[in-house]
């Protein structure tokens, strides 16, 4: 069953704030620890760079999708 749109937008706003904090922390870590390694792979071993890129993007997509879904459940169950 669909929830009223106002309620959904309120949940979305809360999710966005929590998510933004986690996302900023995450990409600081990624840039800090993976930046140099990926740049080296890019210049020296292109095949491994391609494989690493595809795996990283797929992993991040699945991971972040689960994070957002999890956050959504936690925020909604906390509000009920």
């Amino acid at each position: 069953m669909k929830e009223p749109i106002q309620k959904v937008l309120r949940y979305i706003a809360i999710e966005l704030v929590v998510y933004a904090i986690l996302a900023i922390a995450y990409f600081c870590l990624v840039l800090q620890f993976l930046g140099t390694w990926l740049a080296e792979l890019f210049h020296e071993q292109r095949i491994y760079y391609v494989v690493a890129s595809v795996l990283l993007m797929t992993g991040q997509a699945i991971g972040l999708e689960r994070l957002v879904t999890g956050l959504s459940h936690i925020i909604r169950s906390g509000k009920k």
Binding site: I24, F27, F42, V54, M57, Q60, E65
Partner: protein, 304 residues
């Protein structure tokens, strides 16, 4: 912040916000959003060869997130998507070959630019007209029956023609509510979408999504979800090709994707609150935006 692979300084917050906006558009309309992200990355200082490849791998990540949401909502026709992938990949290669042929003749920018402007404008005007008529019809149907909003299609002559094509093998698409359709109809439509993807760049969702609705008669919500699933494969293929040629900055793509991941979920969830004609009407200005971007590039001389 410095990105060592493409050698550019870009504010990561801007990348996240750009990803968020493109993610919402992608989740809601089933498009890759390259008409917006391409020019934006270019204006942030990224070299154009990196713009194309980086945008493609970011589209893959965003489409994974949006497609998972659409799958939960029951908006993906897997059988349709599988058949479409074949046509898209072959069409994409033909589009790239056409570009190479035009490059040799020295008329590539003008021909591609004018083609894009004409195609985008026609799709946009037709989509706006059709969805407006569909909304009017939908209102009268809803008030007559008192039921929920149906996904009305005013211009269904082409869809009937494509569905009735008597070429074997013919398959049924239960998820899309189509009892029988020739595989060749689906391959032809996806081939055209793939051709424009290779010819004009990006995922070409702005062509494929309306083509699925108007030519194959797929319900709008299913067309959005299925197109996203199909984009994962076709954009993934393009991204790997570009990455092999050194045109992908995965760090920029990952940062952009942190915004796109949440945007794609929001966009996908919001589709529940709008009927098919409303989604199509809201979609109509997007190709026109693409036409304006291309026209601007032709006039100012900033070509890919």
């Amino acid at each position: 912040m410095f990105f060592p692979i493409s050698g550019v300084h870009i504010n990561p917050l801007l990348l996240g916000i750009l990803g968020l906006v493109i993610g919402i558009l992608g989740g809601f309309f089933g498009v890759g959003g390259s008409f917006l992200s391409g020019p934006s990355l270019f204006s942030l200082g990224m070299p154009y060869n990196f713009v194309v490849g980086t945008d493609l791998i970011h589209i893959v990540g965003k489409s994974i997130v949006a497609a998972r949401q659409h799958r939960i909502l029951g908006h993906i026709d897997l059988k349709l998507a599988t058949v479409m992938v074949a046509g898209t990949l072959v069409g994409s290669e033909t589009g790239v070959d056409a570009i190479e042929a035009l490059k040799r003749s020295g008329e590539v920018n003008l021909v591609v630019g004018l083609t894009a402007i004409i195609v985008f404008t026609v799709v946009s005007i037709f989509g706006a007209w059709e969805s407006w008529q569909a909304l009017r019809k939908s209102r009268s149907t809803t008030s007559d029956t008192g039921g929920s909003k149906p996904d009305v299609l005013v211009f269904d002559r082409l869809a009937k023609l494509f569905q009735g094509l008597p070429l074997a093998p013919r398959i049924s698409l239960k998820e899309s509510g189509i009892p029988k359709i020739s595989v060749w109809s689906i391959v032809l439509v996806s081939y055209v979408g793939g051709f424009f993807s290779g010819f004009l760049g990006g995922g070409a969702g702005y062509i494929r999504m309306p083509a699925m609705v108007y030519l194959l008669g797929i319900p709008t919500h299913i067309a959005v979800g299925t197109d996203l699933f199909e984009i994962i494969i076709s954009a993934g293929y393009g991204a790997i090709r570009h990455a092999m040629n050194g045109n992908v900055d995965i760090l920029v793509a990952l940062v952009m994707h942190t915004g796109a991941a949440v945007g794609a979920q929001l966009g996908a969830r919001l589709t529940q609150y709008f009927s098919g004609p409303w989604i199509r009407l809201a979609f109509a200005p997007l190709p026109l935006l693409g036409a304006i971007v291309v026209a601007n590039a032709l006039i100012t001389g900033h070509h890919s």
